[in-house]
């Protein structure tokens, strides 16, 4: 494990003994239970574990969608646990881009409207919004689907839309929660290649939650294993050992 006292480079993530406990009825659920981990800027990290291991909960804490019960989540030098609601919203708007398993597009908006929505929150003017959204959609290969609604798109196209939306505000951090979970292996590979481009070409830090070890080994530089809310293993991964462009290369076996 990387020491938490080590000086953190910009764009990095650092959790210090972070806990997220829920009370459900009479039971206390320890979704995240004292995890300390550091992710360097520009790193591609996979969070692996079975369902209920706490990997999505940890990702939500880094994304600023949730607050820790105790401990600290420091992203780019700011402890998210101490931020106001407004500052946390700003963190989600500018610092992180997020991709979900279920895409989370707004059904009554077209592709381009979904993609430019974060720019509306960022109060970017109309013309600039439009050109940025077209550019982002072009990058994910969806420039021909601008006026379609999510329901008219395939799963892969929806995830590309979501990816374009995550990238629109040029965040330094891309967080992906099972991005290929709802996709067939071929489309999954396309999406993973796009995510890897973000890491390679744009230098973005990527944290991906998956339960597919093969997928993680293929794309991530580092594998972090969680079980019952605790960190059980943290190992570097030489992704050059596996082909990144192979079709159908996303293994489906659990970890």
């Amino acid at each position: 494990m990387i020491s938490t006292t080590e000086r953190k480079p910009p764009g990095g993530i650092q959790t210090e003994d972070v806990c997220r406990h829920y009370v459900m009825g009479e039971n206390l659920i320890r979704a995240v239970d004292g995890i300390s981990v550091q992710v360097r800027a520009g790193e591609f990290v996979a969070l692996l574990g079975t369902s209920g291991s706490g990997k999505s909960s940890l990702l939500n804490l880094i994304a600023g969608l949730d607050r820790p019960t105790s401990g600290a989540v420091v992203v780019e030098g700011r402890n998210l646990a101490k931020l106001s609601r407004a500052d946390l919203a700003e963190h989600r708007l500018y610092t992180v881009g997020m991709v979900f398993q279920s895409f989370n597009l707004i059904p009554n908006m077209t592709v381009i409207e979904n993609v430019e929505l974060p720019l509306r929150f960022a109060e970017v003017d109309r013309a600039r919004r439009d050109s940025l959204a077209r550019e982002a959609l072009n990058r994910v290969g969806l420039s021909h689907r601008l006026q379609h609604r999510p329901s008219e798109l395939s799963g892969g196209e929806q995830q590309r839309t979501a990816l374009a939306r995550a990238l629109i505000n040029r965040p330094r951090l891309l967080l992906a929660d099972e991005p290929t979970g709802n996709l067939d292996s071929r489309t999954g590979t396309e999406i993973m290649n796009l995510i890897r481009e973000c890491n390679d070409d744009l230098g973005m830090t990527v944290v991906m939650v998956t339960h597919e070890r093969a997928l993680a080994e293929q794309y991530a530089q580092r594998l972090i294993f969680l079980a019952d809310g605790k960190l059980v293993d943290d190992q570097p991964n030489d992704r050059s050992l596996t082909g990144t462009t192979s079709q159908g290369g996303t293994g489906r076996e659990g970890v």
């Binding site: 939500n60 994304a63 969608l65 609601r85 989600r92 979900f100 989370n104 707004i106 509306r120 929150f121």
Partner: protein, 467 residues
């Protein structure tokens, strides 16, 4: 988020559940419509009353009496002012002085007397009054058959309908309907009426005619006068439908003659009997002078000036004040009743928006996940409430306008059936249009407060879990 983006998103969201949002908007519009209809009716009635009062001469009229006169309107003044004998007489020079005061349109004497008329050989005793030419436009003559006097000196008479009925022998039985004015006017207009009256002549002038009588001999010479019996033939030019017992100053008589004509007749006035010191004088003395003021707002000023001259005054100023208070209270109550419907509509807004939060929980979660702040979400729900309020307000004003118009049309059809003049009882001023829309928006925004706060407080991670 920018205001334009906010409005665009709000309208888009409202379009997503068209039926529910339309029904909510219609709810608001019904509320606004009831408010607008109630208030426009209140305003219309008030304007009608004001118009009527101004036309009737009550708003701009001051009644002036002498302090010598026992029949005083203002008892306090009588007690505090100079003794009755010392106070000036209300005679022709005083009338002229009053007429020359600033803001006075005219000052005319109230000349009335009871005398006998002969129509088709039968005698009838009744009250006669002289009315000035300016009364041509008074609403007292609105329901008149025939025409107003051709000139201020013409030997013409206008009859009240009860006197007309009496002349024709058509006295209405109690409880039965009045005979229509038109029916009374037809056989009378153009006919001749003979008036017998007593002319007052100062002593020393020999009576012009046989049959004159002298004042009792115990009266001093300086104040003595003679009364000469006279006859005058008058042409009936009109019959009015006014009740002679109504509160209408100079028209409280059953036969009306041109004022100048009455003045020229020198008929014995009741004051002449009371105020013997003036009775013998050639200068006419009046019991009452009616002063008409240019602008109802100047009444107080003129009244003060006349009082300074030593006369008693009475005006409807106090009456109009309480009338205005009455309408303010009426408007308030109409407004409250109108607002009740709007209050019900605002509950509809709360319901619609709370439902929308439940339905759009996930959408709120997504927006928050991609960077929407609490304020953005709050503003969005607020904007949706505001847009519904604006549409509902505009629709409501149109609806209220139509309702008011329909009530007006209905009332006028009814008035026409009753043979009455049409009346504008409904009026929508521009300020009402504007403030009704603004009010609808404000009510909607207030209704949106709770739902918007609730939506803003949603935790993104929980909202995203919602399916």
């Amino acid at each position: 988020m920018k205001a334009y983006d906010l409005a665009e998103l709000a309208i888009r969201n409202l379009r997503e559940s068209v039926l529910r949002n339309t029904l909510t908007t219609v709810g608001i519009s019904v509320g606004v419509a009831s408010l607008v209809a109630m208030l426009s009716l209140g305003i219309g009635l008030q304007q009608m009353a004001t118009r009527r009062l101004v036309k009737s001469g009550l708003f701009d009229t001051i009644v002036v009496t002498s302090r010598r006169d026992l029949r005083n309107f203002n008892r306090d003044e009588e007690q505090n002012g100079p003794a009755p004998v010392e106070s000036p007489a209300l005679d022709e020079p005083s009338r002229q002085k009053i007429e020359q005061l600033t803001n006075v349109t005219e000052a005319f004497p109230d000349l009335r007397f009871i005398t006998s008329f002969t129509y088709e050989t039968k005698p009838h005793l009744t009250m006669v009054a002289g009315i000035p030419a300016s009364y041509r436009t008074n609403d007292a003559f609105e329901g008149m058959q025939g025409s107003f006097f051709s000139s201020d000196m013409s030997d013409e008479a206008i009859l009240q309908k009860t006197f007309a009925a009496e002349l024709l022998g058509k006295t209405a039985k109690p409880g039965s309907d009045d005979v229509p004015v038109a029916e009374l006017a037809k056989p009378l207009i153009g006919k001749e009426l003979t008036m017998r009256y007593a002319e007052r002549m100062p002593s020393g002038e020999s009576p012009a005619k046989e049959g004159s009588t002298s004042e009792p001999s115990d009266a001093p010479d300086t104040t003595s006068y003679s009364i000469v019996s006279r006859e005058r033939k008058l042409k009936i030019v009109g019959v009015t439908d006014l009740d002679p017992d109504s509160m209408r100053g100079p028209v409280r008589a059953r036969v009306l003659l041109p004022l100048k004509l009455v003045q020229s007749l020198h008929v014995v006035q009741p004051t002449a009997l009371r105020d013997t010191t003036q009775a013998g004088s050639k200068v006419p003395t009046y019991s009452t002078v009616t002063v008409r003021v240019k602008d109802p707002g100047k009444i107080q000023q003129v009244e003060d000036a006349v009082r300074k001259m030593g006369f008693n005054t009475f005006s409807m100023l106090d009456a109009t004040r309480s009338l205005r208070r009455f309408f303010a209270i009426l408007d308030l109550f109409l407004g409250i009743f109108g607002s009740l419907a709007l209050a019900v509509a605002s509950i509809g807004i709360v319901n619609t928006l709370v439902m929308a939060i439940l339905e759009r929980r996930r959408e709120i979660g997504i927006m928050k996940a991609i960077g929407a702040s609490d304020a953005d979400v709050k503003k969005l729900f607020f904007a949706e409430a505001g847009v519904m309020g604006a549409f509902g307000g505009a629709l409501g004003v149109a609806l209220g306008w139509m309702i008011g118009r329909l009530i007006n049309i209905g009332t006028n059809i009814y008035l026409k059936r009753q043979d009455l003049a049409p009346e504008q009882i409904w009026f929508v001023p521009w300020w009402l249009v504007g403030s009704a829309i603004v009010f609808a928006i404000v009510v909607s925004l207030v209704s949106g407060l709770y739902p918007a706060a609730r939506a803003a407080k949603l935790e993104p991670v929980q909202a995203l879990r919602y399916e």
